[in-house]
Amino acid sequence: MQILLYILKRILQTIPLLIIVSLISFFIIRLSPVDPLAELRLNPSVSKETLQAETQRLGLDKPIIVQYAKWAKSFVKGDLGVTSNGEKVSTKLKERIPNTLLLTTIVIFLSWIVGVPMGILAAVNWKTSFDRILTVLTSIGMAIPSFFFAVLLLIFAVKTGWFPVGGLTSSNFLEMSFWQKVVDIAKHLVLPVTVLFTLSLAGLQRQMRGNLLDVLDSDYVKFARAKGLSEFKVIFKHALRNAVNPLITLLGFEFAGLLSGAALTEYVFQYPGLGRLILEAVLKSDINLVMASLMMGAVMLILGNLIADILLIMTDPRIRGGQA
């Protein structure tokens, strides 16, 4: 019951937050000197009448505040409006969200099942050569800029011919059998996943290692060891439980990044995800699409934090105590 009340309170708090985010974003986009009709204007074969019709259709002839009110009204009703090409924003997003989710969930899943154990191993074997090698490798992983790494891998794909050059499916995808389709998608995913995995693995491993080292140094671990518990029990029953809190917070952020975290990598690999869609939309000031994605980002971030907090309440009796 208490938890439910807490969740309700948090959800109510998000409303003013969303209003502020939307106001700021809308005005910044509209006040920037970007002309959404630029390409049409520079096309000698487009007539004056067509330009006027477009201006009216996009509502560019009205003051910004009226445009915002119109947008906000339909947003509250759950209607995201249409893109500057006249397509529904919701269909556009629906096309892309599964692709991005596929990529990011694989990456998050992989980096957690590899990163956390690696962090534990490194902490347990602190200052051994194993730990040192891992430290060097993770430092490299954190230092390589993602777009640069992505470009390197693309060149690698071209020169060896082992992997397709970007995209998500091959051009004869429609004729493939189910298993061929799975293999085809997997082949396309290897390189982008490698890039994102390397980055997030490095961070996660460092975080886990650091937390565990802190805890291993504490009195209650020393006490447990003195009690004569096996090393396995000491680490997994006592140390790990206490070291995992910051990671749960991190998980909340990862959740927020589910839809927007891979934009740069997506762009380099020509991956048909949200990142590329939004970037193109921002460049031509496609207001409804940009607003929808910004609002989505904000909601995901708030939701991610909320989930992390709830998880913390459930795992950590100290926090639970504070709530009661």
Binding site: V158, L201, Y267
Partner: protein, 605 residues
């Protein structure tokens, strides 16, 4: 495990390096003129078999089957409705699916029949005979009803993109379209209007599919046959029909089984089973995809040309030079002499004195080293340009001769207008103002940025101070079209090598793209420069005359005026270079048609 991954990666990268690349160091020389291929393309001919009027391919007979994969840069098509398209990619996609009554001879540029069997022109009257017995992809016959419906209801009715309609209103009147019988249609323009013939290349829509949409009104029509429409709902007349559209990845077309072009054996074309357009984000990715073998055809630019030319020797593709591009790159000065609604001049008054001075504009023109730019920026693959009509235009005024950079002449022209130099070599006007201005172009376009740098250097030879500022594309257009607060700009247009009237939005003094002296909406009375008035007259007359020779006279004079007055200073036209895999046969690239003008005849050996 992590160590393993990294090791594998390192090994892989090593393999990538070992693989043979072309020898570095030597830069292959391309001699554009020698390599221009002469088109020996045999034009398709009409032939009647069993009462059906086919179009017969005269090219060698090929094998059926296979896929041709090409690409488009950007975000992909915005619509598949040929009447709604406002951008190049959407137009390309709909041209594949819907044929027009006429098309352009890819070699000579004449208008030749396509969906129509023949046509006759008599002053204002255009009599079009249709083919008997040809069908839409769903098996329904293509008749005069489809043509009359398309023209009267969709195009003249103002559905979708109304640019075609807007450009054929003559003295407030529209042409009339009437059905004579099932296979004959008569078009009548209110006055003789030469560009009309080429407008007959507008796609023809299947009435039984489009009529319900038209009846539901314009707003519905805007979303009709959008990119979300199921492929089965398309009924086409062109060589191909859409099969699959995957957003941000590709558009797949399959062959239209009822296409009306046959080969010499009487078999229905196209040879290819599928045509695929990959949607790629940028040029670099496109090049990588071609090298990775995912693309069969690619347009090349700049440094890549030399690299591909070298790779060609031990690869499975051929590089073709198909002549000057339709694009024109130009430098323009803001000749605006008006005030904005706050009573402030759009252009600083002291700068107005320079930009409105013909001597100044000519001096800038003579200071530009076009040959050097072609050599350094386009890797020698371009031609210096001096006229608004492109070099492959059938209306090009060949009397306007090219010339080289001539600083002496520039200085003379400047002195004539009272400019002088101080001891440090800075240029000052006759009121003692330092000549300093901003030069804009759109950031991200490496070619224009490079031109900007070279223009800056050339103008600094004359003692001018040039602040070169690349700006984001959409913001730049806002400057050029709305706020009008710019000095000098480097931009480009795509022109038409066949119809100068397509440039009327640029050259008419109230045009929407009258870039060098843009007039805002509602400004009809402001003073025109004498040469603007003359071009207005020439453009109007040029469209009304019907004989080619008469038209050429008007358009020759307009080119001569631009050549002399320099409202736009043309820089160069790049050459189009295309690489295509050797396994494709019946490849006849032409300057006007590119590589895919005979897509139905391409086959894989």
């Amino acid at each position: 495990m992590y160590v393993l991954i990294v090791l594998v990666l390192i090994l892989g990268l090593c393999k990538a390096c070992i693989k043979r690349d072309f020898a570095a160091g030597e830069t292959p020389q391309l001699r554009p003129k020698d390599e221009l291929i002469l088109a020996d393309y045999p034009i398709e001919q009409n032939v009647t078999i069993n009462g059906i009027d086919y179009l017969q391919s005269q090219a060698p007979i090929g094998k059926f089957g296979g896929t041709f994969v090409t690409s488009t840069i950007g975000e992909g098509p915005k619509t598949f409705n040929p009447f709604n398209s406002k951008d190049n990619i959407s137009s390309t996609m709909s041209e594949i699916m819907y044929d027009g009554l006429v098309t352009t001879n890819p070699v000579t540029g004449e208008t030749i029949p396509k969906l129509a069997k023949s046509f006759t022109v008599n002053d204002c009257e255009y009599l079009v005979n249709l083919r008997h017995g040809i069908k839409w992809s769903d098996g329904k016959p293509i008749t005069a009803d489809d043509v009359v419906f398309t023209w009267n209801k969709i195009i003249l009715g103002g559905y979708g993109n109304t640019s075609t309609r807007d450009s054929i209103i003559i003295d407030g009147k529209l042409p009339t379209v009437t059905k004579i019988d099932d296979f004959t249609v008569k078009f009548v323009t209110p006055k003789p209007f030469a560009p009309f013939l080429r407008m007959l290349s507008s796609p023809i829509a299947p009435k039984h599919i489009f009529e319900p949409a038209v009846n539901r009104g314009k707003a519905y029509f805007d979303g009709f046959l959008s990119t979300n429409t199921r492929p089965e709902e398309f009924v086409t007349s062109g060589a191909f029909k859409i099969k699959e559209y995957v957003p941000a990845q590709r558009v797949v077309f399959e062959k239209n089984p009822n296409y009306y072009v046959i080969n010499k054996n009487g078999q229905k074309l196209p040879y290819l089973e599928k045509l695929v357009y990959l949607i790629v984000g940028d040029i670099n990715n496109q090049v990588l995809k071609f090298e990775g073998g995912e693309l069969d055809e690619i347009s090349l630019q700049g440094a890549n040309v030399a690299r591909f030319k070298e790779m060609e020797k031990h690869s499975n593709f051929t590089v073709y030079n198909i002549g000057p591009d339709m694009g024109t790159m130009y430098l323009s000065m803001n000749m605006n002499n008006r005030k904005n609604d706050k009573g402030k001049y759009y252009v600083d008054q002291k700068k107005q004195v320079w930009f409105q001075d013909k001597n100044f504009r000519q001096a800038v023109d003579y200071a530009l080293d076009r040959k050097n730019m072609v050599f350094n920026i386009a890797n020698g693959l371009g031609y210096p340009l001096f006229t608004p009509e492109t070099l492959n235009s059938i209306f090009l005024n060949k009397d306007l001769k090219p010339y080289d950079k001539d600083l002496e002449k520039s200085r003379e022209l400047l002195k004539k207008s009272g400019f002088y130099w101080d001891k440090a070599g800075h240029l000052l006007d006759r009121f003692g103002n330092h000549v300093e201005f901003d030069l804009y172009t759109n950031a991200g376009n490496t070619e224009r940025e490079a031109i900007g740098v070279m223009v800056k250097q050339d103008l600094e030879d004359l003692g001018m101070k040039v602040n070169f500022k690349p700006v984001e594309f959409n913001s730049l257009v806002n400057k050029l079209m709305a706020t009008l607060d710019w000095d000098m700009v480097i931009m480009g247009f795509t022109g038409s090598p066949l119809e100068p009237n397509g440039g009327k939005n640029v050259w008419l003094s109230d045009g929407t793209l009258h870039i060098f002296n843009q007039r805002l909406e509602g400004d009809e009375k402001s003073r025109r420069y004498p040469f603007e008035n003359r071009i207005d007259y020439l453009y109007t007359q040029g469209a009304l005359a019907t004989k080619f020779e008469d038209r050429k006279r008007f358009y020759d004079e307009y080119q001569a005026i631009v050549y002399d007055e320099k409202p736009l200073i043309y820089i160069y036209s790049p050459i189009r270079i295309v690489a295509i895999r050797n396994k494709f046969k019946n490849v006849y690239p032409t300057s006007l048609g590119g590589v895919t003008h005979n897509i139905e005849e391409l086959y894989i050996e």
